[in-house]
């Protein structure tokens, strides 16, 4: 019985408690489906807590981004929604950024500092996401006139928007943005570095930069984000696999579970209340943050318990109650 619950992963050289990994991936998928962002910022630290070596947790997590991004881009958008010029410029910075991130992870692994530095970086990232989600919920609740119901700021300056006049200045016709090449390149490189270092998709940071900094419309930003998530995810997966830091068996097992979670999350989001969604998001992110901090402080068992509890409560809350109403 005990053997049935353990799965040997030959590439990472570990045995994992697979029901916990399945629960984590399903819950991360649910939350990701709810908010239309990738759940990689939950899955990567979650896999690390559940026993994956950190480079393998990052590399394996990157594999789930590509297929889903491509499918979503095909399903929800047309290619005419994508500003290819802006995408190519961001990708020009993104690819070197990812490569630097991957090399930094391998260097930290060799020097024995990966768990400490990247683990605390996850805690910082999760704290930033929680603060952003709380700020967003508070802003919408206080009827900020600049915020629409989806929580995004409407552009106060319709039409072309000019930011950062630093030679060479490029005009992005599809997004109606005029911006310095260096700003877009630096933004792409920063997001790529974070993606490569922490194994996250970078959707949240990319959306913030595209909508708030550059002033793209949310539709253009979403479409471009999906295309960039696919391309950067492809490069990051290849980079980690080429260094032997991807467990192919684990990747093939987690991908369908995450896909199912995302599809369920997307279905439930139409019937759940806005407040319930935000509460679930905040609660789950807080649970993962507490788990990561416990892990970093050496309380491995408590980290697993916190992670399992937050996953379980989040799943039950979203699937069966949908924010106060029983499913039926």
């Amino acid at each position: 019985m005990h053997d049935l619950l353990l799965l040997h992963l030959p590439f990472a050289g570990i045995e994992i408690f697979w029901p916990a990994v399945a629960l984590l991936c399903f819950c991360a998928g649910l939350v990701a489906g709810f908010f239309g962002i990738s759940g990689s910022w939950i899955i990567a630290p979650g896999l690390y807590i559940l026993g994956f070596p950190l480079p393998f947790a990052i590399g394996t997590n990157m594999t789930q981004l590509t297929g889903r991004s491509l499918f979503s881009l095909y399903k929800y958008f047309r290619f005419s929604d994508v500003d290819f010029k802006l995408g190519a410029t961001m990708l020009l910075g993104g690819i070197p950024g990812i490569e630097i991130g991957v090399r930094a992870v391998l260097l930290l692994e060799r020097s024995g500092l990966a768990e400490e530095i990247i683990g605390w970086s996850y805690a910082g990232l999760l704290a930033a996401i929680i603060w952003l989600a709380y700020f967003d919920a508070h802003r919408v609740a206080s009827d900020d006139p600049a915020a629409d119901r989806s929580g995004f700021y409407k552009s106060s300056k319709p039409g072309w928007r000019l930011c950062f006049r630093l030679f060479p200045v490029l005009s992005f016709r599809q997004s109606r943005v005029i911006c310095s090449f260096w700003v877009v390149l630096a933004a792409g490189m920063l997001i790529g570095f974070i993606s490569g270092l922490l194994g996250v998709g970078g959707s949240l940071a990319r959306m913030c930069i595209l909508v708030y900094l550059l002033g793209c419309s949310t539709r253009n930003a979403f479409a471009l984000d999906l295309l960039l998530a696919f391309l950067t995810g492809l490069y990051a997966t290849g980079a980690y696999a080429f260094r032997g830091r991807v467990d192919l068996l684990a990747a093939l097992l987690i991908i369908p579970i995450i896909s199912l979670g995302i599809s369920m999350g997307a279905a439930i989001t139409n019937i759940a209340r806005q407040e319930a969604k935000k509460a679930a998001f905040l609660f789950f992110a807080l649970g993962v943050l507490v788990s990561v901090i416990s892990m970093q402080l050496g309380y491995t068992l408590w980290a697993g318990i916190f992670l399992g509890l937050s996953c379980f409560i989040c799943m039950v809350y979203l699937c069966f109650f949908k924010g106060g109403r029983m499913a039926g």
Partner: protein, 97 residues
Amino acid sequence: MFGLHLIADFVFNFRGLSWGSHWRISGQIPETSFSRLVMVVDTRALDSWLLHYFADLYNSNLLLFAVWTLVLTVVWGVFTSFAADRVVRAVVRCPID
């Protein structure tokens, strides 16, 4: 000197060059070992021929392993996303779009 070694190792990712520069500068062996980590899969414990093939590939040709990983994960990701959407649409009976 330790920091310089870290930067050299990071930039060149080439052990001989960074060790050389370290020896020239400081003339002593650093406390931390920066030898490359070589990952291998123990193929003796694998029963499945498919896993055995990929494990052999992992041990002998990482480039081909990376190509296989990319192809498999993208195709599998698209297929499972499509299938999951169909299943959820049938079960939950609510508009996904």
